[in-house]
C-alpha cells in the first residue's frame, strides 16, 4: 500500500496544471451551469480539449489518450481545482462509447467526428413519463416500415434537449418480447418532422430539462446501433461504463474550499463565521465524509488499474458523492443567512442582486441539487443494487 503519487504522476500533474492555466475560459471559471448564457458556453472548453487531444482520455485508440487511471484521476482533480466547465456527458461519455463499441464502421465514421468536435450536440432520450426507475417499461414505439422506423411516443426529463442536434433513444421494437428484450437503440436527428421539444421548468426557475414528443417520426433503419431488440445491452453497457468521476470528489473538494472562503467573509456576533464552533464541526464532518469517499474512490481506481474493472461498489460512489454534494449546498445556504432568500433569475441575473456575490442563487442551487439523488439511478435504486448484487440479499 502506498498513497503517494510517483514522480511521473507529479510531472504529469504539473503539465496538466500549466495547460489548464493557460487555456481555460476565464469567464466561466466557477460559474454554475445554470448560469451559462448561450450554447457556446457549454462547448468552449470541450473544443479546446478536443484540439489538444485530451477530450476523451478514456476512449480506446485511436481516439483516447493512454493515461493510466491515476493520471485520469489527476486530470479530474486539476480541472476541479481550476473550476473549468464540466464537459457535457451525453456525447463523449454516453453515446460515443456505445457507438465505438457496438456501431458499424460506417456509423463510427458518421457520428464520432461530430461528437468529438462538439459540432453535434447529443441528448439522452431514455426516461418516459411512465418509465423512470423502471426504465425497461418504456413505451415509445418504433415500427418497421421498409427502410424506416416510424417512432411514436414521449421522452421526458431530457437534459438540454433545447440545444440538441441529435437524440439517442431507447425505443420498443417488439411489443411481445419480455420487457428488456424488445428494446432497440436508435439515433434520431432532432430536425426530423414530427419531433416537438417542450421545456420543463424546475423549481429553481431553470430550464435544464424538456419533454420530447415523437409523432410519426421517420427514422432510417441504418440509425439503429447494434441489432434490433438488443438496445438493452447498449443501455447496460453505458451504465457500467465510466464510473470514475461519478463521485465528484474533486469538485466537492473545491466546493468545500469555496465554502470556507465564504465563511471567512461572513460574520456572526462580530466574529468570522468560519470560527463558529457549530460551523467548524459541520465542516469537519463534511470533510471527513469526503476524505473517506476519496479513498473509496482511490481503492476502486486501484482495482481498475489492476485490471479488475469497476465493481458494483460504484453505487457507493454515486450515493455518497451526491449526498456530499447536496450537503455542501445546504451549508452554503446556511452560511449566507438572510441573503439566501433572494431569488436570482437565471436569465437576467445581472439585474439587482442584493447581498454579497457569493450569496446569489444559493437556495436555488440547493433546490436544484436535489436532482442528484433522483437521476442517474436514484439513490434508492442504487441501494437496491448494493443489497442485491453486493450483499446477496
Amino acid at each position: 500500500m502506498d498513497i503517494n503519487f510517483t514522480p511521473e504522476d507529479e510531472a504529469f500533474r504539473a503539465e496538466v496544471r500549466a495547460f489548464i492555466e493557460e487555456n481555460q475560459p476565464q469567464h466561466l471559471k466557477g460559474v454554475r451551469r445554470g448560469e451559462y448564457r448561450n450554447k457556446e458556453d457549454f462547448l468552449v472548453w470541450h473544443r479546446i480539449l478536443y484540439k489538444k487531444g485530451w477530450l476523451v482520455p478514456s476512449w480506446p485508440a485511436p481516439y483516447g489518450t493512454n493515461w493510466t487511471p491515476t493520471q485520469k484521476y489527476i486530470w479530474n482533480e486539476e480541472n476541479a481545482r481550476a473550476e473549468t466547465p464540466a464537459i457535457l456527458p451525453f456525447g463523449v461519455s454516453m453515446v460515443g462509447p456505445v457507438i465505438y463499441t457496438f456501431g458499424t464502421q460506417e456509423q463510427k465514421d458518421k457520428y464520432i467526428p461530430g461528437i468529438l468536435s462538439g459540432d453535434v450536440w447529443w441528448c439522452q432520450g431514455y426516461s418516459e413519463p411512465g418509465a423512470g426507475s423502471d426504465l425497461a417499461s418504456l413505451k415509445t414505439t418504433a415500427v418497421r416500415e421498409g427502410d424506416y422506423y416510424i417512432v411514436n411516443g414521449q421522452k421526458t426529463w431530457t437534459t438540454l434537449a433545447q440545444f440538441a442536434d441529435w437524440i439517442f433513444c431507447l425505443v420498443r421494437t417488439d411489443k411481445n418480447a419480455k420487457a428488456q428484450e424488445g428494446i432497440s437503440f436508435l439515433l434520431i436527428d432532432m430536425k426530423t418532422p414530427g419531433i416537438t421539444v417542450k421545456p420543463i421548468i424546475t423549481m429553481d426557475g431553470g430550464h435544464e430539462v424538456n419533454e420530447v414528443w415523437f409523432d410519426n417520426v421517420k427514422v432510417p433503419v441504418e440509425n439503429r446501433i447494434h441489432e434490433e431488440n438488443k438496445g438493452w445491452t447498449c443501455a447496460k453497457f453505458l451504465l457500467s461504463h465510466e464510473r470514475a468521476g461519478i463521485a465528484g470528489v474533486a469538485r466537492s473538494k473545491r466546493a468545500i474550499s469555496r465554502l470556507k472562503d465564504m465563511l471567512a467573509m461572513e460574520v456572526i456576533d462580530g466574529e468570522k463565521l468560519i470560527d463558529d464552533a457549530d460551523f467548524e464541526r459541520k465542516i469537519a464532518e463534511l470533510e471527513i465524509d469526503l476524505t473517506a469517499l476519496e479513498f473509496t474512490e482511490l481503492r476502486t481506481l486501484a482495482s481498475e488499474q489492476a485490471g479488475k474493472g469497476p465493481g458494483l461498489e460504484s453505487s457507493i460512489l454515486k450515493i455518497k458523492g451526491t449526498e456530499i454534494q447536496q450537503r455542501i449546498t445546504e451549508l452554503v445556504m446556511e452560511g449566507v443567512g438572510y441573503y439566501s432568500l433572494p431569488y436570482s433569475d437565471p436569465l437576467s441575473h445581472n439585474e439587482f442582486a442584493p447581498g454579497p456575490a457569493y450569496a446569489e442563487g444559493t437556495t436555488q442551487n440547493y433546490a436544484n441539487m436535489r436532482k442528484t439523488s433522483i437521476y442517474g439511478g436514484s439513490n434508492e435504486i442504487q441501494r437496491n443494487i448494493i443489497a442485491k448484487m453486493v450483499l446477496g440479499l
Binding site: E334, T363, Q364
Partner: protein, 376 residues
C-alpha cells in the same frame, strides 16, 4: 389539560379554509407571485374584512380580541395556501409591537388601520452583518431636536414592497451588539431619505433592501422605551416564530398528504411505489416529523404569555423542531416524487422552498439550538 378547539375556533378554521380554496388555488397563486405587483391588494382587503388582520387585537381597536390559538389556526391554514399577502407582518408583528409597547395614541391611530388593511407594515430588523442577532445593529438613530435622524441599511425586508410603513430597529446608544440602546421606530416608507430596492424571494414573495439616509422622525415615532426596545423585539419575534411554526405545519401537512397520495398512484416495476418498504418508512418518518411539529407548535403557542426565559426557550425549541422537520419533509417529498418533485409545475417544490425559507427567518436551527442552550 385540553387540546381541543372551541366551536368558534373551528368556525374560524372553516372560514379561512373556504377563503383559501376560493382565492388561493395554486395556479392563481403562481400567477400573482409572478405579476408586477406580486400580491393582490383586494385579497388583502378580504383578509381584513374577515377580521383576520385584527385577530389578536383588542376589540376596542377594531380587532377580534382573539387569542394566540386563533392566530395559530389562521397561520396554519395560510401555510397550506402558501399565502403571499403580508398577514404575519401585520396581524402578528406590527400589531404585536403596538399591543406590547405602543402608546395609546399609536394604538388608536394604527391598530384600526392595520385591522382594516388600510395601513400595511413591514419589519426592518435584519442587517447585513447582524446575521440572526437582533441586537447587532449598525443602523443609528441620533437625537435631533424633538425627534431622531436615522441612518443605516436594513437587509431582506420581507413584504416591504407591499408596505406603507416600516417598523425599524435602530441603535440610540451603546455598542454595536449591546442589549441596551435598541429603539423601535415607525418610519413612513415615503419619508425623505428612505430608499428601497425590491426583488423577489425564492418562495415567491417579495423583499427589499432598505436604505435610510438622514431620515427624520418625530419623538412619537418611537414604539416603547427609548433604548429599551430589545425586550419588545424579542417578544414579538417569539410571537412571530409561533405563527411561523403553525404556518410550517400547514405546509408540511400538504407535502405529506400529496406524497402519500402520489406513492399510492405512481407505479414502477408493476407496483405502486408506496409498496416499497424503504419509501414507506420514509413516509412514516415524515408523518412523525409532522406530528412532533404540531405538538411543539401547540406548546409554543400556549407559552407565549409565560415569563421571558420560559417563552424564549419555547420559541427556540419550536424553531429548531420545525427547521429540522421542514428540511426532512421537504427533501423527502421531492425525493419520493422523483423527477416530478423537481418541477416548478407541481406544488411540491413550492412548499419545499417555503419550508426552506422558514428555517432562515428569525434564526435557523443552529441559532436557536444555541439560544436554547444558553437559556439553561
Amino acid at each position: 389539560m385540553d387540546f381541543s378547539f372551541t366551536e368558534e375556533q373551528t368556525l374560524l378554521r372553516n372560514s379561512v379554509q373556504k377563503f383559501i380554496q376560493g382565492a388561493y388555488d395554486f395556479e392563481t397563486r403562481r400567477k400573482v407571485s409572478k405579476s408586477d405587483a406580486g400580491w393582490r391588494k383586494e385579497v388583502y382587503g378580504q383578509i381584513a374584512e374577515m377580521g383576520l388582520l385584527g385577530v389578536a387585537m383588542p376589540e376596542d381597536f377594531g380587532g377580534l380580541g382573539g387569542s394566540a390559538v386563533d392566530a395559530m389556526i389562521i397561520a396554519e391554514e395560510f401555510g397550506r395556501g402558501l399565502v403571499i399577502e403580508p398577514w404575519l407582518n401585520n396581524a402578528v408583528i406590527a400589531a404585536g409591537f403596538l399591543k406590547a409597547a405602543g402608546s395609546t395614541a399609536q394604538k388608536e391611530e394604527l391598530l384600526p388601520a392595520i385591522a382594516a388593511g388600510e395601513t400595511v407594515f413591514a419589519f426592518a430588523y435584519a442587517e447585513p452583518q447582524g446575521r440572526f442577532n437582533l441586537a447587532d445593529l449598525t443602523t443609528t438613530a441620533k437625537k435631533s431636536g424633538d425627534g431622531y435622524v436615522l441612518n443605516g441599511h436594513k437587509a431582506v425586508v420581507l413584504g416591504a414592497p407591499f408596505a406603507d410603513k416600516l417598523i425599524v430597529t435602530a441603535r440610540t446608544s451603546g455598542g454595536q451588539r449591546d442589549a441596551d440602546g435598541v429603539t423601535v421606530f415607525i418610519v413612513d416608507k415615503s419619508a425623505k431619505g428612505v430608499s428601497t430596492r425590491d426583488y423577489p424571494t425564492v418562495d415567491g414573495n417579495r423583499a427589499s433592501e432598505v436604505t435610510l439616509e438622514n431620515v427624520t422622525v418625530g419623538a412619537d415615532a418611537v414604539i416603547g422605551e427609548v433604548g429599551g426596545g430589545l425586550k419588545t423585539v424579542e417578544l414579538v419575534t417569539d410571537q412571530a416564530i409561533a405563527a411561523l411554526a403553525a404556518e410550517s405545519t400547514g405546509a408540511m401537512k400538504v407535502l405529506n398528504d400529496t406524497t402519500i397520495e402520489y406513492a399510492k398512484t405512481r407505479k414502477q416495476f408493476g407496483t405502486p411505489i408506496g409498496k416499497f418498504q424503504v419509501l414507506q418508512h420514509r413516509m412514516v418518518d415524515m408523518f412523525m416529523n409532522y406530528e412532533q411539529s404540531v405538538s411543539i407548535t401547540y406548546m409554543v403557542t400556549l407559552k407565549l404569555e409565560e415569563e421571558e426565559a420560559e417563552r424564549k426557550k419555547a420559541a427556540s425549541a419550536a424553531k429548531v423542531q420545525i427547521g429540522k422537520a421542514g428540511r426532512f419533509i421537504g427533501q423527502s417529498a421531492v425525493q419520493i416524487h422523483g423527477g416530478m418533485g423537481m418541477t416548478d409545475e407541481l406544488n411540491v417544490g413550492h412548499y419545499f422552498k417555503r419550508l426552506t425559507m422558514i428555517d432562515t427567518l428569525f434564526g435557523n436551527v443552529d441559532h436557536h439550538l444555541k439560544r436554547y442552550a444558553t437559556l439553561g
